[in-house]
Symmetry: C2
């Protein structure tokens, strides 16, 4: 899908959500949505705030947090807790459900899919009598690049 089309669609989804829940369609909210859908990383609230500031939008942190919550509620954005203490977000409209693999050294985030995770989720829900709307699977590891770097560092320290 092309950017303008995607932007248009998510704006529509958000508008519908806001109307249905009798929330105001403020400029700030749409600016934040647009900014999120023009990025494609796993960002945190602060970096989103800083980016908006850099682009000369005068939107407060409070509004950023408030809007993120709304976007999570209408499933346009997904919220993650990757090890560290700050939440990370990513746009999720039209994306296939996926999980994450994080490098403990350089914090690189990769994505992957495996249908077995959904199977496990369903099975455990049945078994333990839970209704399971979502899950989070994070693999923590060391990526190739960092492994190589570490080996070099070791060699140096010996030499």
């Amino acid at each position: 899908m092309k950017q303008p089309e995607l932007q248009h669609q998510v704006r529509q989804v958000f508008t519908d959500y806001l109307e249905k829940n009798q929330q105001r369609k403020t400029n700030e909210r749409f600016i934040i949505l647009e900014e999120i859908y023009s990025r494609s990383d796993h960002f945190d609230a602060e970096s989103l705030f800083t980016e908006l500031k850099k682009k000369k939008f005068q939107i407060s942190r409070a509004t950023v947090y408030n809007t993120l919550e709304l976007l999570v509620a209408c499933e346009l954005v997904t919220k993650h807790q990757f090890g560290n203490n700050m939440a990370r977000y990513e746009k999720s409209y039209g994306y296939r459900q996926h999980d994450h693999l994080i490098c403990l050294d350089c914090n690189k985030v990769m994505e992957f899919c495996d249908p077995r995770i959904h199977q496990i989720s369903t099975r455990m829900g049945d078994l333990l009598n839970f209704e399971i709307p979502h899950h989070s699977l994070i693999l923590y590891g060391h990526c190739r690049g960092c492994e190589i770097k570490e080996q070099l560092a070791k060699k140096k320290s010996i030499a």
Copy 2:
């Protein structure tokens, strides 16, 4: 394994670790270890601190955090990030690796095992060229008890 025996074993593991890393074997550290192994829930640092205080041990928050870090390093304790912003811990000596299922309503934590998760982890590591020492799988759901409560609440609001 009986409690005293378990306590003895984990104390030994911790002692070995401290010696190997030339860290001091302080009373505070062993008191904390013992407290953790006399509990069996998924606790946070603050509740551990409060519990120790209630038992009249004068151990500071700083020491609690410091010791938890050591215990995680020697794998006597596992650290989790369950959705909310505070870390949760659990004893892990002699326990089979397992994953978690959390009720979004009452915060109840359940545990489960599924060998497929390990398979997925290995497969993704191979595929994406990562070495993966650990992972975190959390299923977020609504438990039966809470579902029933909610249905009752709905009925009431209609009536």
